[in-house]
């Protein structure tokens, strides 16, 4: 059953090469393993050992401290809100950038990556200035009784800003590859535009949307630089978890800091793993995993 359909790319068979044709396997393997061990694995194992050494009771005591729990809550909720916003905004931007031609499109496309290129501290003081009571946005929002700076809402704004590119850049290529015939086929079968979007386009887009949203969420969980300037950082209300680690460090409470950090890191690594596995499984079905 040879696939002749061009839309289905044959997966590159992972044929093991017994004798390597290309040079540099040993060298590049050596350099890579050395680098990864020294830069990534050694420090991470340090944290694991450090945390394991402190005993379960102390660990539990540290991470269930009410102030820490409150900061977990604030961080997760804000990251959730920020990534939801980015799903909507990112989908809109990807759609507009792929589907339409208009003057200034290139500029719009380029500036989408600004949050990745702009240092987080710069983003932080800028957003704080914009949304402060005397700032350009703060003044307008104050008239409607909305306070952003130095409230949890400010955290959401900062997180959303720093993770804008994730959704746009994961949805964009998927949208570009959608074959126009799918839409024509659906329309010729009598579907309305909205039905085509809901039943033909969205089912293909949402895995990318979830992936992008997931990456945006993961990044927001750990965000520090952009958040601290706008959050106000009042305990129990607007402290994020990264700041909590920092606070414990400044108290020279290394044990507590590493306990909280290991939770944060565990969550992010699980999230990363989940996104990878889930994405792989979904792609397999669309691109011809047999049986």
């Amino acid at each position: 059953m040879a696939d002749t359909d061009q839309s289905v790319r044959p997966r590159r068979a992972g044929v093991p090469v017994s004798r390597r044709v290309l040079p540099g396997f040993g060298l590049s393997l050596g350099v890579t393993l050395f680098f990864i061990s020294l830069v990534l694995l050694l420090p991470i194992s340090g944290l694991v050992i450090h945390t394991a050494g402190m005993g379960w009771e102390q660990f539990w005591f540290v991470v269930t401290d009410p102030r820490v729990v409150a900061s977990f809550k604030v961080t997760v909720l804000a990251a959730l809100a920020a990534s939801l916003f980015n799903c909507v905004f990112g989908l809109l931007m990807a759609w507009v950038l792929v589907r339409y031609e208009f003057p200034g499109k290139r500029l719009l496309d380029a500036i989408m990556d600004l949050p990745f290129a702009l240092p987080t501290a710069v983003a932080g003081i800028t957003l704080a200035t914009l949304f402060a009571e005397s700032g350009w946005y703060g003044r307008v929002l104050a008239e409607f009784g909305i306070e952003v700076a130095y409230t949890p809402l400010g955290i959401v704004v900062a997180m959303a800003f720093t993770s804008v590119p994730f959704v746009v850049r994961t949805v964009q290529p998927v949208l570009e590859e959608l074959p126009p015939e799918d839409e024509e086929a659906a329309v010729s079968l009598g579907a309305s535009d909205w039905t085509v979007f809901r039943r033909i386009l969205f089912p293909v887009l949402w895995p990318a949307l979830v992936t992008g949203g997931g990456l945006s969420f993961a990044r927001s969980l750990g965000e520090y630089g952009a958040v601290v300037f706008i959050a106000g950082n009042s305990p129990y209300v607007s402290e994020v978890i990264s700041l909590m680690i920092f606070v414990r460090l400044e108290e020279y409470d290394f044990a507590a800091a590493s306990a909280i950090a290991s939770v944060v890191m565990g969550v992010s690594l699980l999230l990363l793993l989940a996104i990878n596995v889930w994405q792989g499984r979904y792609l397999k079905r669309l691109h011809g995993g047999r049986g």
Binding site: P16, V17, L22, P23, G24, F25, S28, L29, V31, T32, F35, I36, V39, L40, L41, P43, G46, L47, F89, L92, M93, W95, R99, Y100, F102, L108, A110, D113, L114, F116, A117, L118, P119, T120, A121, V122, I125, T126, T129, L130, W136, Y137, F161, P180, E183, E184, D193, V196, L221, G222, I241, S242, I245, F246, L249, F254, A257, S258, V264, S268
Partner: protein, 278 residues
């Protein structure tokens, strides 16, 4: 052929609404912050701006930041190229694991990254204690800053190269081997010309992140003015001293680097799409 396809959402009304919405939201959310940075930085005029840059501590922060980037970027470039070569040109067990490991710095909070190094190399860490016997202090000094910056920025070059090299396949390199090219000739004459634009963008992005890293660096630097203060830390310091104009002056330098990064990315993508067309 030039046939236009029948696609949903191409109606003039919906089209205008969506484009309008996208432009307005982007202007408010992404463009405005840039305007703020530069208007605040220039609030005291050009003379004030130059004066703020020439401030002793600002100059020192610029110097330290450039120094850190100068060490970090080449290191991560070499590593990124080796990693990309390894995972796209050979099949071996653990290949996918390796490609996933490299994403860790993306997923880890920068504060946690800083903490990792502090725990290991700080005066309480086992490596730190061992080094301490020889009077070597890595944390709260420039080597610590370089180390965490390397950690945070190590994925960028590889992440730019891997998809491209995967897509290009290894046919051309195999052909070169058949024709008798040595390893270095192969890389310089066949691989490098194909990946140079992506490599350039990877390097520029690594540089932007190295220059701008804040969370991880603030854990390990100690922020000693005139000693271990990088530009982003200096921005924070000035901001907390209520020297808003000074803070935005320093910030505008970093924003300038960000804009250059975006420009390079746009050019690189344009070159790549052009080379695909012909």
């Amino acid at each position: 052929m030039s046939a236009k396809h029948h696609r949903v959402g191409d109606g003039p009304v919906i089209r205008r609404i969506l484009i309008g919405l996208a432009v307005v939201l982007t202007a408010l959310f992404l463009f405005m912050p840039l305007v703020v940075i530069f208007t605040q930085a220039l609030a005291q005029g050009w003379a004030g701006y130059i004066g703020n840059i020439l401030d002793e501590y600002t100059l020192h922060a610029i110097g330290l930041t450039l120094f850190v980037a100068l060490l970090t970027v080449p290191l991560n470039t070499v590593f990124g190229v080796f990693l990309a070569w390894l995972v796209t040109r050979f099949s071996f067990p653990g290949r996918r694991l390796l490609a996933t490991l490299i994403d860790i710095p993306f997923a880890v909070s920068p504060v946690v990254a800083g903490l990792l190094y502090l725990l290991l190399y700080g005066s309480n860490g086992w490596a730190g204690q061992w080094l301490g016997q020889y009077d070597v202090e890595l944390m709260f000094a420039w080597p610590g800053i370089v180390m965490v910056t390397v950690f945070v920025t190590c994925p960028f070059v590889a992440r730019e190269l891997i998809p491209l090299m995967q897509q290009q396949g290894r046919d051309e390199e195999e052909a070169a081997v058949v024709l008798g090219a040595s390893g270095w000739q192969l890389f310089r004459r066949v691989t490098l010309p194909n990946i140079r634009w992506a490599l350039l963008y990877g390097v520029i992005l690594t540089n932007a992140r190295a220059v701008g890293e804040f969370g991880a660096v603030s854990v390990v630097s100690g922020s000693i003015r005139g000693e271990t203060n990088t530009l982003p830390l200096h921005v924070e310091l000035l901001y907390q001293d209520y020297n808003i104009v000074g803070a935005f002056t320093a910030a505008s330098l970093l924003a300038g680097i960000a804009l250059i990064t975006l420009a390079v990315k746009t050019i690189v993508e344009w070159r790549q799409s052009r080379s695909e067309e012909f």
